[in-house]
Subunit: 166 residues, 2 copies
């Protein structure tokens, strides 16, 4: 083997090394590009999630205000002019919630739905189909397709259901 042969060998080894490095580098780059793209997609979903979370936090804090307003209205008043002003506030509250995509959950008379209702008690069903909501204790709300706050309900149970389940 002369110097030239050995030179050829070295050159072709180097070419081999470089080709391998280049290939590895290219693959690494493609993986990073794919990671980046996945990250972008995930983040777009998460951005919407964060906005939704901000909405939910705020709404959950303010729904008890509506509950209290409704309890006040339920007692009625002897001052009709003032009552009407408060009733108008209540309608405005419901309209604002609707505009925000917040809708009440139907409960009374409906079949108990664990995805929307939270059973706080049961009553023996009398004239009502067991498993239907006999009474709503606290209204439930959806935000778009998602549950915002479960309705607290009293469920009609079979009269023969043992004590703990009645």
């Amino acid at each position: 083997m002369d110097a030239r042969d050995s030179g050829d060998r070295l050159a072709s080894d180097e070419v081999e090394d470089l080709r391998r490095n280049l290939q590895e580098q290219e693959q690494q780059h493609l993986r990073l590009l794919a990671d980046f793209e996945n990250f972008r997609r995930r983040i777009a979903r998460e951005q919407e999630g964060a906005r939704e979370e901000g909405r939910r936090d705020t709404l959950l804090r303010l729904l008890p205000v509506l509950d209290t307003l409704e309890r006040a209205l339920a007692t009625g008043s002897t001052d009709m002019a003032f009552y009407e002003g408060v009733a108008a506030t209540h309608r405005l509250f419901l309209a604002a919630l609707r505009e925000l995509g917040v809708e009440p959950i139907e409960s009374e008379g409906r079949r108990f739905d664990p995805n929307a209702h939270e059973a706080v008690a049961t009553v023996p069903s009398e004239g009502v189909e067991p498993g239907t909501v006999a009474h709503e204790v606290r209204r439930g709300w959806r935000l778009g397709d998602e549950l915002l706050r479960a309705a607290q309900v009293v469920v009609a149970a079979h009269p023969e259901v043992p004590e703990p389940w009645r």
Copy 2:
């Protein structure tokens, strides 16, 4: 030039090309890494921004409900029991806003502040320093350190200020 020389030339050209490609590829990769890192940082800030936006949207829709409730309360009532129930709702509303980081902007008697106040009219200042807020028309609110809704105010003006500025 024999075949071997030309072979050497080709090999060393290829090595050159490969080295250059590899270097370019490495630099491209480093740029992508830096882009990715910048994107991550920017996105972390934007996530917080999106959450805040969700809060702001919701609050801005619900503040008019508070305005209406306050207007109703301001009229007073002959039915004290009912009035008290509504006043309790109002206190709960303010407490919920406070918990959400929403605080009222002080206006009346303060110096007009274009970052917090929106002048809807001026009145000739009588006994009041010109440039102070004479009257608040609609309350303003801050969310944390940010303006949520400007206060609409009537500003006291110099009596000698020309018509359009009075």
